[in-house]
Structure formats: C-alpha cells, structure tokens
Symmetry: C2
Subunit: 329 residues, 2 copies
DNA sequence: TTTTAGCACTTTTTGTTGACAAGTGCCAAT
DNA sequence: ATTGGCACTTGTCAACAAAAAGTGCTAAAA
C-alpha cells in the first residue's frame, strides 16, 4: 500500500515526534533522505490522505495520527536490543533475592515508571479464579477479633469483627466448620455456599449461630480481592501534552483513581504484550496503554504502562517483555 | 491590636477570597461596611503592614497572607452549625452498619473529598505502638506458605515465603516458639528479639533452623505496618491555584506519592483538630493540612484533609469534627 | 481625631498592528 | 517520478496604545 519511501518518511516523522513533540516539516526529512523537500511533501500529502498523518493547521508540519501510531507499532517499529542502562537497573531489582515476588513486580514497575516518566500499574488476578484455602481467627480482645481469609493463590484479606457474648470456643467451632465444608470453593461463590451449606448445619453445633453466621457472611461478601497498584501517577505531568492541558490531566487522573481500571482491556485475554492506542483502551483517549499478563505459580496478574500516545513504544515493550520473562521463571 | 473594623475587613477579604481567588479591592468592602473606600484603604494598609494581607502587585487588591489565614483560623473564624447537606451525606455513611470501622473511615473521608474537592488522607497508627499479638502460617503448596502477623491493635500483615525441604511440622514448631517467646513485643523490636532470644533456642527444637530463622527474620524486618490511604488526589487539580501552575501540582503530587507523608506533623501529638497552614505542615508550602487523631478500641490513626491555603476552613473543621466524634463512639 | 473626596500614579489586561519564520500546495520544468 | 520555484497560510513575537482596576496620599469635612 505504501511505497518504501513513504514508510521511511512515516517512521522518521513518528520517531522524531516521539523524541520532541513539535510538528515535523518536509525540510528536515528531505535532508535525511537526500531528496528534495517537494518530494517529501508529496509523500506527506499522500500519508495524510491515508489518515496516518495530521496537520495542526493548514501550513504546519505533520504530526502522527492515532492510525499513524497504530501503523507504526504494527509495521514499522523495530525491537532492537534493550538499552543497556535500562537492562541494568531492572536486573538489580530481580537480583534482590530478599524480596517476595509481588514486591519484585511492584518494584520493577516503579523503576520503569521512574526511568520512562510514564505511569505504571500492577493488577492482581480476578476474583473468580481464587479458591478459598483457609480461614483463621485471631482474638484481639473480649469483643473483637480478626478473621483472615487465605486463597489458594496466596491472596490474603482480613476483617475486624465484633461479637458480644460469643465465646472463643464457639468461634473456633464455626471456623473449623467453614474450613471443612467450603474450603476449595471459588471466592465469589462462598457467600452462597455459606448460606445454603453452612447455615443449616451451624445451628446444631454452635449456640450464637445467628450472630456468627452474619459476621462471617459479611466478611466474605466484602472480599474484594483485586489488588490495584498505581505507580508514578504524577509522571503524567512530566509529559508536555499533559502539562500544557490540565483538563486532560484531570481526566486521566480521575480514571486512575477509579478501580474500574480493572476492566481495562479485560476483553481480550491476550498473553502477549499488547499496545492499546488512544480510543483502543478504556482509560482515556489521550493515552496509550501497553500491557501484558503474567503467570507465576498459578498466581496471575496484569502489568501495564500508561503514557501519552507519543510514547517510546519500543522501549516500553522491551522493558515489559523483560519483566514478564523474569517473573515467569 | 486590631480595631473592630480591621478585624471585620480582614474577615471579609479572606472569606471572599476563599470563595473566589481574585484579589479584593477596597470598593467592594466599603459597600458592605457602609463607609468610604478611602477608609477601607487605610485599614487595608495597616493590615498589610501587620503582615496579614498582601498585594500581588503595587496597585492590586489585597489577598490574605499565610499569617492572615493563621489569624483568621485563630481569631476570626466562627464554627457555625454544619451545613445540612454535608451532615446528611456523612450520616449516610455512618448509618451503614454493614461496614467495618476502617471502611467507614475511608468511605467518609472519600465523601469529604468529593464534596469539598480537597484531597483526603487516612493514616494508620505508628509502628512502635503496635505489639505483636500472634503469627499464623497457612501452607499454600509444597514449597510456599503464607505468614500472617497480627498486632494487638488489630493490624494485619502477611508475606509469602518459600522454603525448600522444610516440613510443615518444623514450621509449626517454629511458629509456636515465636508466639510463646515474643508475643507482646513492640513490632519494631521483634527482629532484635528474634535474633537474641529465638535464634539461640530454635536450633535445639527444629532441624532446618537456619533457613527458617532467616525466613522469619525477613518477614518481620519488612513489616511496614503503616497504612496510608489517599483519596481524591486529582481533586487538587480542581483548585485554580494549582490548575494554573503545573509545577505546584507536581510538587504536591510527588509528596503525596511518598509514604513519607507519615511524618506529617507527627511532632505535635495533639488530639484535637489542628490546622497547619503553608509552611506549618511538612507536605508542601502551598497547601493547608487539617488533621486530627482518632482512637477507637485502642486502635488509633490520623485523618486529614489537604487543600489549598485558600481552603474552606470552617467547613472542613466541622466535617472532621463530626467524623472524629462518630468514629469514637 | 477620624473619615472622606479627589486625583495622580502604577500595573495588568486586552487588542491591534506589522514583521518574520516555518511550512504547505501546486505548477511547470527536468 | 522528481525537483525548483513561488504564492499563500498560519502561528509567534514584539511594540504600542487604550482601558480597567486599584492604590497612596493630600487636603478638606465631620
């Protein structure tokens, strides 16, 4: 569809614009390509006609359109070796044996955010994939205790509950009952099972069954389970397209505060690294999301980097690739 | 020190400026006070001389100085009844019996943030005030398990650990040993006690003591314990003094991302509601922090609202007061 | 002694104008 | 298919003028 030179021109314009967000004119390109600026202008016109480039006003240089970025990512971008410095800094995190796996992930995304000045996100796995492993109760004082829920994937959540006039023995009985009866149940089905399988039985064994049942019921129905971790929110402000336009920042920030983030691009369930440019993502039209899933010992989650559409695609993809690989082994 | 009229003028200027951040001239005030603008100008000059007002340029109206706000909060502000609408929305949260106390706090601060367009913060108690209550271990698979730490104030933290070739029995023994020997120790002394009181003994009871000791040692030395919850970060952008000056936003945001927040104003240990204006707080010179501590069943924490110095002081103080009272009973 | 009217002065804001730079589109020539 | 040339458009910047808002100060009035 595009000639060789047109591809070259598009690539040059995009890469220039990513480095420095000012419209690119035909003159600079013509010097690099050793042809006249008129030639370049003709091709630029064609590229604009195809929707890959845009102008900011009638006589300005060109900037990439959303479709332009898409085309670039799909066809033009070359993933060379990762930058040595980036590599080194990430390796330091992974070399640190002290850290638990989840901390390593968070830390390494933090490092990415610091190095690239983009925002990074870590998402925990989905609730329905966690099975109840075990619950524990720790008494705090006469009336309050802590219920701890552990899932088979190692997810832990806890709640304070207050019970008047219930002996610790009764509580222990209930806990044992629950552990025996519904351990292994998917978390979001626990509430139901509690009602139909535990409630009928609990009355025979435990005195204050009504009160106890209610307490546990609430503990489970509140189980959110989705860990969301956003790093480097303020990095968004380092990007010129945002720092010059507060409304955009407002938009993105309010989206980032909403755990509805989860829905992100949950639609495709791709395992590879995927790039969602502008309207392709559910966060905001003005950003690009690069994300991937990881799986480690059955635990799974999503890591993503959010930046302007004018993002260093190759660099970020490389970094995420590196992290994903290092997590998974 | 100040005449009656001067106090009135200062109050009027500050309250006007809080509603709408444009310098206030003598004319508007003179109309309200039924005196000539020249009279007002004289008093304004005096107020400026005292450091309570400022000008943005030689011939502009006046805006409050930091000292002006201070004086206002200390002497001029009247805490009338709380706004009925505010009251209602907060009560809805507290009426919800389903929620655990910590959720109620978070929710109500979220509501404050939404209503006022300021940022709200919930801080957990300080680490050295928590004593180790109990630890629990839940095995996940052959090599990994979860260690759960519970403090006497009901704070819970957990860590994944991986142990090869260690039987569950050995682990249980170690856990019992720790629970018996150092339960009741302040969290930040646990690592030390582990080394000097548990390590020497553990060898006699447990086979893989070296490995186990190391694992637990790490679990405790990583115990952060401080829960930090920031709500409505992006609200900062709604405030004109920030949305017109990106650098300020950057500053505040990077502070809000740093859990060094904790240090906030830990210096005074006031139990009342306190207002820290501009340089009086440790967050940022351009903001005011209104904060208070709460205590509930021995558990304690801090709640705070962060906004521009041009903040609706009376409203926020009222709201925090209300929340504090409702938490504590 | 306190308040006020009046006026000169300062600064910000807004709009206009003109010159200049950057870049385009297109046509005719190569 | 490529190129040189040229007319045209738009944004940016500085200079300037006029208007708006508000002050400080002085001298008179209360």
């Amino acid at each position: 569809m595009l000639t060789d030179r047109q591809n070259k021109i598009l690539k040059l314009i995009i890469e220039r614009y990513i480095k420095d967000p000012i419209p690119v004119g035909s003159k600079v390109i013509s010097k690099i390509l050793n042809c006249s600026s008129a030639t370049v202008r003709n091709d630029m016109g064609e590229l604009e006609h195809q929707g890959l480039l845009e102008k900011t006003h009638t006589s300005s240089g060109r900037i990439p359109s959303e479709e332009g970025y898409r085309y670039y990512v799909d066809n033009l971008m070359e993933l060379k070796k990762m930058n040595a410095e980036d590599m080194l800094k990430l390796q330091i995190v992974f070399r640190n044996q002290q850290l638990a796996i989840s901390d390593v992930i968070t830390k390494s995304l933090q490092v990415i955010s610091d190095m690239t000045n983009y925002t990074a996100v870590v998402l925990g796995g989905a609730s329905h994939e966690n099975l109840l492993k075990q619950i524990e109760v720790v008494p705090i004082d006469d009336v309050s205790m802590i219920v701890i829920i552990v899932t088979d994937k190692g997810h832990v959540e806890h709640k304070n509950i207050h019970l008047e006039d219930v002996s610790m023995e009764e509580v222990k009985k209930t806990v044992n009952l629950i552990n025996n009866l519904i351990s292994g149940t998917p978390i979001d089905e626990v509430s139901r099972k509690l009602e139909f399988e535990v409630k009928p039985i609990i009355g025979n064994y435990v005195k204050q069954h009504e009160q106890l049942y209610n307490a546990f019921y609430h503990v489970f129905s509140d189980f959110t389970n989705q860990e969301v971790n956003v790093m480097g929110r303020s990095k968004m402000l380092e990007q010129p397209e945002f720092s010059s336009n507060i409304d955009r920042v407002k938009n993105v920030f309010s989206k980032l505060e909403d755990p509805e983030l989860l829905q992100n691009i949950t639609e495709d369930d791709e395992n590879n690294i995927k790039v969602y440019i502008g309207k392709e993502n559910n966060i905001d039209r003005d950003v690009t999301v690069i994300q991937t899933k990881y799986k480690k010992d059955g635990e799974e989650g999503t890591i993503a980097v959010i930046g302007p559409k004018r993002m260093e695609y190759d660099r970020v993809v490389n970094m995420l690739e590196f992290i994903k690989e290092n997590i998974e082994r």
